[in-house]
Amino acid sequence: MWKHILFIWVAVSCLLPVAADEDTGEFMWSLRTPMHVEPPALTSLQHSARVHNPIDQFVLRRMEDAGLEPAPEAERLTLIRRAYFDLLGLPPTPEQVDLFLTDKSEDAWPRLIDSLLASQHYGERWGRHWLDVARYADSGGYETDIYYRNAWRYRDYVVNSFNNDKPFDIFVQEQIAGDELWPDNLDLDPRQVYIVSKEKQRHLEARIGTGFYALGPRIHESALDAKRLAYETLTDWADTTASAFMGLTLACARCHDHKFDPFTQHDYFSLQAIFADARELELPLWNSMGEADWRQNYPRVVAVQEAREACRLFDAEMQGNPLSPEQQARKQQLLAAIGQAVLNLPTATAGQETIPYDGLMHIPTASVLGREHPALIKPVHLLDRGELHKPQDHAQAALPASLAAATKTSLELPAPYGARKQFALWLTGKDHPLTGRVIVNRIWHWHFGRGIVETPNDFGNMGQSPSHPDLLDWLTTEFVRDGWKVKNLHRLIMNSSVYRQSSQFGPERNLAVDFDNRLLWRMNRRRIEAESLWDNVHSSAGTINLAMGGSPVVPPLAADEIASLRDKWHWVVSADPAQHTRRGIYILVRRNFKFPMFEVFDTPVTSQSCPVRDVTTVAPQALWGLNNRSVFRQAMHMAGRVIKEAGDDRTAQIVRAWRIALGRPPSDEELMSANKLLDDLEQSSPTPLKELPDSLKSAPPARAQALSKLCLALFNLSEFAFID
């Protein structure tokens, strides 16, 4: 009976998308202002001795209420691997492990976290998380998969933002409206300003954040279907904005009023209209040029853009009508002017004239948002069923009505210009019900493998409700009060005893009550992501190149891996072999052709914001580990490293190999079986290895090949790919 009532209640509440409960006047949970809830009292907790910070109080409360036993703290070895992979996406070296294991001081753990947060590699790891949300890719997808030569500047901007602990509200503002919020970055023309101040340079950097909008999926099959292209661009911008920053899936409201959440089709097109006055453009980057180059390049790049704009204005004026001979001539003039402006681009840098360069390709620019010319702004219409050929009313830039009401704000936004600015400021207001909750939940998700809300891009009625609503609100209010500092949030989470629990724990009762571990009675074991696995293999081999930033790198592929690529020039291997072992985040992300190893290990679909990566376990992953030539090559490098670091003694070599790959020495049983395996392999002794790295050349051939194969086995262990 009780179940039936509940069932009906849920069914009804799902069917009626109301922002506010009519009886109580209350908004749907995610639209209510987060409350600073007091953590449950220590004295009320059975396991109060486990409490390190308020997170534990919230989590233990629910756990104890459900009659669950918390897992004991994980071993220190487990903890250091967990922390390294979590914060850096890299394994600790055996020496780093030793340092931590022998550090008996009280604050060894918090100091470890601090040191990892100070590492430049932290930004690469956590920036990559954000890139999933930002549907990051270096190309447009669809048939032509056009290359975005500047997408990487946005990637580096994200990495730097995390490394600099940029307050998250600023991070959001920069991405949505960096140009409108700090308009002095528009004023860089050396004919008008003599010196670019430090502040202005910072604002210019911030504007690269709007690259968020310039790297979405895009059909670039000439200008065949311009109307549809424009519509689909706005659709991408509106949908990604809602998913990434607001944790809302508004996409369904494109075709009809949202069935489950309080959003109408009108709200949806008003959101699209916020972006109607924006356009993508190439911004010459003062910061990446010397001053001499800036003086030389900037006006000429702007001249190209102005020439192009003149042509677009002319086209808009003609509205596709047949041209008179005079108009034909005018059009020819305008096209010639573009050509001339391009030809005027410098062909050598002013700073170092000996370096030849192609002005068009090499002038550093970033793809960013700017203002569309007033005459070229196209009105946004509400579309019947979302169909382009059924335009209805003109849509004005506005906040979604239910959200405006929930935040007690007027829904109107200025237009043209200024709507993005106002929208970004509203979104990052300190009482905004979504922005803080959504990012706090994402960060929790990235730490634990599951969010407090399991659907980080859907805080609506069809998303999962929070497992620990009080905790989410407490964390959110703390986070905002602390100035939106992400690194402090990491500290708070990782210093809790919840985070430090063992994953190797599974009493019958806990499993029976909460098999999914929603109540966090143990740590979730996690398969490391594709990029981390790549980094782990190369770190173990000692070949990883930790250089940061810059254009995407393109590692070589085997014939069977490249076979399915249509245009081989879409995968032009980086000329410098040192680039082939860069960290995974720097590998070219093509929408139409994923790096094959990444595809097998579940890097996200880049067509839309990805809140949660799939974690599949499939046979092609095993085939990669066993048979891929690049993995075997890394195994040989690792064998060379082992011999170099451990000397000729076989036992010492095995121990070293274990410590490099798994962070721990082998057990007696493992030592014995590894010895036996080496015996067998040394005796099988086939033809000598091909492509032997230098480090293995002086080793006895039988040992070199046996040890390489042992290292290959280590790369294939579950323990290598899973973090406890």
Partner: protein, 469 residues
């Protein structure tokens, strides 16, 4: 195959295969685990109702074959050759030419009626015509995308946008996998995949449902070949040791099925190293069979091999086979292009139908032939035709359908589908229907709503009409 995705994702997404979780399940997150615990996302699942087909071979003609040169005979085009289209057809968007000023072009091939059913087919397909009584020709396909990229995505995933699962992924999601050694969904092309993996993607479905791109030559699946520096014996030695260590690792880690799945995947990978090359190895096929598919005849050799391999896949339990014949994009010379193209596929496809029939597999194997669109009735350049999505043709055979029938028609100019119109969503609904799947029920919750292969369409589901009574 014993493959598990992250169990949590699986539970979260309602891996039951069909439809959303019951609302009751959503109530208490804590209780959900127990019920779904043991399910393998690729385990074979019963259909919604008994279907007539068990397997699908999807023959995709990439580039857009002309309906007017193949299956849709329009004598009016001869009559009006060189003239403008009627006024009513002059305001349609096309990719490269203009309906307002391009001139009608007569069909480039003659048509004849074949078989007892008298199906009209052009002279391009002499072999296939012999099966006229087995074909159901749809002359009223339509949609509104005239660019290859988005039209191909529509044809494969039911929507024009990237990121949605392909038909084969939906079918695998719905019915599971029947082979122990091979993937359930295999895609092959005679060239390369335009649009990349979006032609066989699992989109927002868990990645276990992704198609496997298999090659007809050399190493059929990525990383399938043992490294040259490793002997077979050594690989086995390594594998046994890896498994032993992984089992020890597993023992101290309770309740984590991914670790079991990982161990069994290493064995599956080992078996695939034998099974996949065996699949594409045609040396065991008789000379008669090779001739049937035109495997040794220059123009048809490549597609012939692919068709023969697809029969071998169906025999081995592969659920969904997708074969792509590329280069049908006849902007310049429709006649010349289609002559070359038809020679590549006519014998192979006819041979496939014959072979499936004589092995008793045709009744359970559905063949679907289609391009991303047809071609314009009006001329492009000297002798070409532009992309045309507003009316074009497809055919189906096998899979329990009666054949010898025609569905729908276009107007006199072959421009618009006018009668019994079949949208891509309708075609997909029909395919699912023949497999025993209700297209409106097969759904997956993602980004705020339940998605279907057929989106909000699929109303004109032909399945019931096509099945032999």
């Amino acid at each position: 195959m014993t493959i598990f995705p992250n169990r949590r994702d699986f539970v979260l997404h309602g891996g039951s295969g069909f439809g959303a979780l019951a609302l009751g399940d959503l109530l208490t997150a804590e209780s959900r685990g127990a019920e779904k615990r043991s399910r393998n996302p690729l385990a074979p699942r019963p259909p919604h109702f008994p279907g007539t087909a068990k397997n699908v071979i999807f023959l995709f003609m990439q580039g857009g074959p002309s309906h007017l040169e193949t299956f849709d005979h329009k004598p009016a085009l001869r009559k009006y050759d060189g003239q403008l289209l009627p006024e009513s057809l002059r305001d349609f968007d096309l990719a490269q030419i203009n309906t307002a000023d391009a001139k009608v072009m007569a069909p480039q091939f003659s048509f004849r009626k074949y078989g007892d059913s008298g199906q009209e087919i052009s002279s391009l397909f002499p072999r296939l015509s012999e099966h006229a009584d087995r074909l159901t020709i749809i002359r009223s396909m339509y949609h509104d995308l005239f660019i290859h990229g988005s039209a191909m995505i529509l044809m494969h995933s039911g929507t024009r946008l990237l990121g949605h699962p392909s038909v084969g992924a939906w079918v695998t999601y719905g019915l599971g996998c029947e082979s122990d050694n091979l993937p359930s969904y295999i895609a092959m092309t005679d060239s390369v995949f335009r649009n990349g993996a979006s032609m066989y993607t699992s989109g927002f479905l868990p990645a276990v449902y992704q198609g496997t791109a298999m090659r007809a030559e050399g190493v059929p699946i990525q990383n399938l070949q043992r490294d040259a520096d490793l002997t077979g014996g050594e690989q086995r030695l390594l594998l046994d040791q890896i498994n032993a260590w992984n089992r020890n690792h597993r023992e101290t880690r309770p309740a984590d099925s991914r670790l079991d799945a990982r161990i069994s995947n290493y064995e599956l990978a080992f078996r695939m190293q034998t099974a996949a090359p065996e699949l594409i190895d045609l040396s065991g096929e008789t000379q008669a069979t090779r001739e049937l598919y035109g495997v040794d005849d220059g123009p048809s050799a490549q597609f012939g091999k692919m068709c023969l391999m697809s029969r071998r896949m169906v025999e081995r339990g592969v659920r969904y086979v997708q074969l792509i014949s590329s280069d049908w994009d006849a902007h310049g010379d429709c006649k010349g292009n289609h002559e070359v193209q038809a020679r590549k596929i006519d014998q192979p496809i006819a041979g496939l139908i014959t072979d499936l029939k004589q092995r008793g597999l045709l009744d359970s194997t559905l063949l679907v032939w289609i391009g991303e669109f047809g071609r314009t009735p009006i001329r492009q350049g000297s002798n070409g035709r532009d992309h045309h999505p507003y009316g074009f043709s497809a055919w189906m055979a096998g899979g329990g359908i009666s054949g010898g029938t025609t569905i729908g028609s276009t107007d006199d100019f072959g421009f618009n589908a006018v009668e019994d119109k079949v949208h891509v969503n309708d075609l997909h609904a029909t395919m699912l229907g023949l497999l025993g799947i209700d297209h409106a029920e097969l759904s997956y919750y993602f980004e705020g709503r339940d998605h279907r292969l057929t989106d909000v369409g699929g109303m004109n589901n032909l399945a019931a009409r096509l099945v032999r009574s």
